[in-house]
Assembly symmetry: D2
Homo-oligomer: 307 residues x 4
């Protein structure tokens, strides 16, 4: 079967900021070059890890324009058009595509209380409004709704979706999605968003991964992916276990929100090895405290992370 255009490690890139909360475009360029050099299969900008929810439309467009300009077509640039429902998502998606994105990621309706037919129509309405590949982003913890495997594969067969980023935390559902997709002739490219199980997901048939932690060590994820696809299970496991020790950084900021603890940890680790000038997060998120930063630094040192 033909390979999907979208495959491999596609980091959901963080949005580098200056300490005053404005976007640091110089750092963004540097990060894009760093990730491409590591061998990633694409770049996913404006995802949850990019703190898309906190960015205005103007900021989002400027970020995509910068990423596309730096990328120069070497890998596809996928943009999160994260908004409440279809009409708003479609409007945002058209602007992001005009700014240089190659593909769009959209979630189920947010804030709305939808049934399954409405969710299907939601994705159809978005796809009809754009001339580009559309991915579904399955992230119930943020949108309060799990996307059913059957729905996704049917929308793939229908030509509405080209792929799925699965951050559902539901491995049974993801396995069923892989099986149903295979039975339907693989209309969808299937990506896991879970940092710690990329080896296993590769082995059972995922097309790629979108791990936030790849901002911190993209090269290790690329090695892991190549080993898994080559059938070298032992090597994949070794890389994954290294990455899992590193992933413990996201549990360091106890008592903080999920948004602050996770992205905060990635940024602190990236700053520690020189990938970012600042670990600042989007307002109103305050920086991690010194104790959490010290714990993250200790893990970074223990596992031997280098940029």
């Amino acid at each position: 079967m033909a390979e999907h255009r979208f495959q491999g490690i596609i980091p959901p890139i963080v949005t580098p900021l200056h300490d005053d909360g404005t976007v640091n475009f110089e750092n963004l360029d540097r990060l894009v070059e760093h990730l491409i050099a590591a061998g990633v299969g694409g770049l996913f900008a404006l995802g949850s890890t990019g703190q898309v929810a906190y960015l205005t439309d103007a900021q989002r467009l400027a970020i995509i324009a910068a990423v596309a300009r730096t990328t120069r077509g070497r890998v596809p640039v996928i943009a999160g058009a994260i908004d409440l429902t279809a009409a708003r998502v479609a409007e945002g998606a058209r602007a992001l595509l005009a700014a240089g994105a190659d593909a769009i990621v959209a979630t189920a309706p947010v804030y709305a209380i939808s049934d399954e037919r409405e969710i299907a129509d939601h994705f159809r309405q978005i796809r009809a409004a754009i001339d580009a590949p559309l991915f579904a982003y399955d992230i119930p913890v943020r949108v309060n709704r799990k996307l059913a495997p059957r729905l996704l594969v049917d929308l793939g067969t229908e030509g509405v979706l080209v792929g799925v980023k699965d951050s559902s935390g539901d491995d049974v559902g993801f396995r069923r999605l892989i099986a149903m997709n295979a039975a339907a002739g693989r209309p969808l490219a299937l990506f896991t968003g879970h940092e710690v199980v990329v080896d296993a997901m590769a082995m059972i048939g995922a097309d790629g991964a979108v791990p936030g932690l790849a901002n911190v060590d993209a090269a290790a994820y690329v090695r892991l992916w190549q080993a898994a696809r080559a059938g070298d299970l032992a090597r994949a496991l070794t890389e994954q276990e290294y990455l899992n020790r590193l992933f413990e950084i996201v549990f360091c900021a106890t008592g903080r929100s999920g948004d602050a603890a996770g992205v905060g940890a990635f940024k602190v680790a990236m700053a520690a090895v020189g990938l970012l000038d600042s670990a600042a997060m989007t307002p109103p998120l305050r920086p991690l405290d010194d104790a959490a930063v010290a714990r993250i630094h200790a893990i970074v040192r223990d596992v031997g992370l280098r940029a």
Copy 2:
């Protein structure tokens, strides 16, 4: 104690549409006049009942401009600035105020995964960006987060919030909110969003109600409110029980989403008595089916609703 500027029945107005899904501004004008004539204490446009999540920014501004123009200051116009997080909400709120809104309603962060301090900062950031009264909208079923009474009252005392619309379904929390607010000198105007308990909430100290069903029979809610405030419990109960029989319309469309069943029922009933030309809902929401419409019409007839 001084009366709050915002009080009484403040309908969260539906967004009248043509059958093709575009906004019916003629119907909107008519609805605004109808509600003002019924004696409402204000108008809340762009709420969940107004299907704000499905409207683009341009549509939102046009709606507020129309409502403000028709209202001519007779009652305050409160606009829902419903978006993901503070920077986006603030941007939207400024535009809505420029279009004629008198006050803004905002929810806790959506899509983001926030802690309590971040939620407080979220409201502070919005309030700092606007020069108008700000209400918090407590609606966990949509934003996946309950606002704590202590947080709300503290933000009231701090001057960030002037009031709360409570659609939390948590009557214990609302009672504690009333008590804490009273103990703090009533910085907040407190509104219930629950159609069927307005009598009880009035009796225990709410400042008003924002019932979606008031689109269908505003006059009954105004009579209920006046009776309750006058201490005429029997009269208030009678009006409430009439309204509760009418409210059963929202349970007629079985197997449909919450958004479609509720707003759909309000619109079908409004169309039945001539308040709207069409019961169309915002795409991708499809109309209620004939069986549901028939059940709604039967209830409308049985309770004797008239415009």
Copy 3:
């Protein structure tokens, strides 16, 4: 309409313990006498407030035997037969009735994952196995399932249920339950379990209340109830607001489980005014810490609680 046999304030009695965790039957007798003297309409033993989940079958039977012996038929004794599913509940219920209980309370299936028809059959199976009135206990926070108003009223009409204790925190659902029950000829006696809204629930038609806080001040709840039923809203409100200030004791033990913070607070307050010898809770629940106890004592003093 005829009065229900079960009505008014029916405290869900705590289970008094010695410091070693064994049941203090002398304190239990004293508590029963104290509550009956206060004018309660019945006693609900082995509820969540009685920490029924932590008691063995032998302890449960001994408690019901003691309560029934002390009560001597002056008020009905209702026993919680709290177990996983119907066969187990029925077995427990028969033993509790043999030990002296007058009626049984059962929840939806626990641990099981049931649909609505199975839940109806669950209650039918329990009722068929006993010769006594059966109440449904609607407590989704513990059993992960809300009982639908329609289901409850239908089971009432069918003769399976005589009443409902509503601890669902869903005031809209409770209001609909009251309306549906009235329309069906009032087959059910309807009790609210929410301490802080008894005034409002009385005014809208509840038959009684089962407030855990009535262990601490039963007399105030009885006065509240009598005022509400007599239509003296101002008096009812005054009593309720006093009780709500007292209820803040359950929020004093921050960082503790719901079970420990709530029942722990009731027991600390009861011990403070001499109603119990010890505030010990069922193992493995450890006592509240000194800081929490001090905060509870301060509230008890501030509101002027006396036994």
Copy 4:
């Protein structure tokens, strides 16, 4: 490192019933012999698949006595002591051990609302009351609570737990549990309860699996497990994909409860190939309807299942 005593495929055995709902001990004996012949590593009786929640204490003891008698020590017999909290669980566990069980499985507290320290004390209290290995059963969908990896490993190190059955649906948590357990010297034997990912879990370090579907085709799971442990990924994947096609039987009974649809499907398939005389479920669960049975039979045929 030493092998754990508990490892490999340990089916959570269904409870065979006669059509009248009584236990079919002849079928139970036959099932036990069938599973042992297939090469299972142990038998887990009285789990969710065994519909333990619906069985009385007397039924539970009779089942364990029968299973132990038939097993004659060839493999360990693990019994689910499923009850609300520690005192009740401990009492049940002692009886089950006396009836012949070799080890006990217990969940977090049910019905109770506990914090993490109370959950740890809960397991400690159970372990202190018995003289046998204790497993934790992590099943949030039934007990409304996820067990934290850190807690589990600490209880392993402390000697309270010997293992975990993970039915949490949280693959990230399970991966972290494997890593923390390895770092602590492997005090725990770790089992996945998810039928469709046993290949992946074996490859990343699970000690075994407890798949309900192993009632239907134990031999395939044993082959899968042996292939995975031998590093034969392709073979493991092939067996898993066969089993996953078979697992679709649990999605055939649409509109039924999770308990009825899942166990019902297993029993229908087992009856289809002669492993059971009846697909009857524990009351109040009614049989699957003819359409669902037909769909299950079609899958059984399509995949070529034989006993």
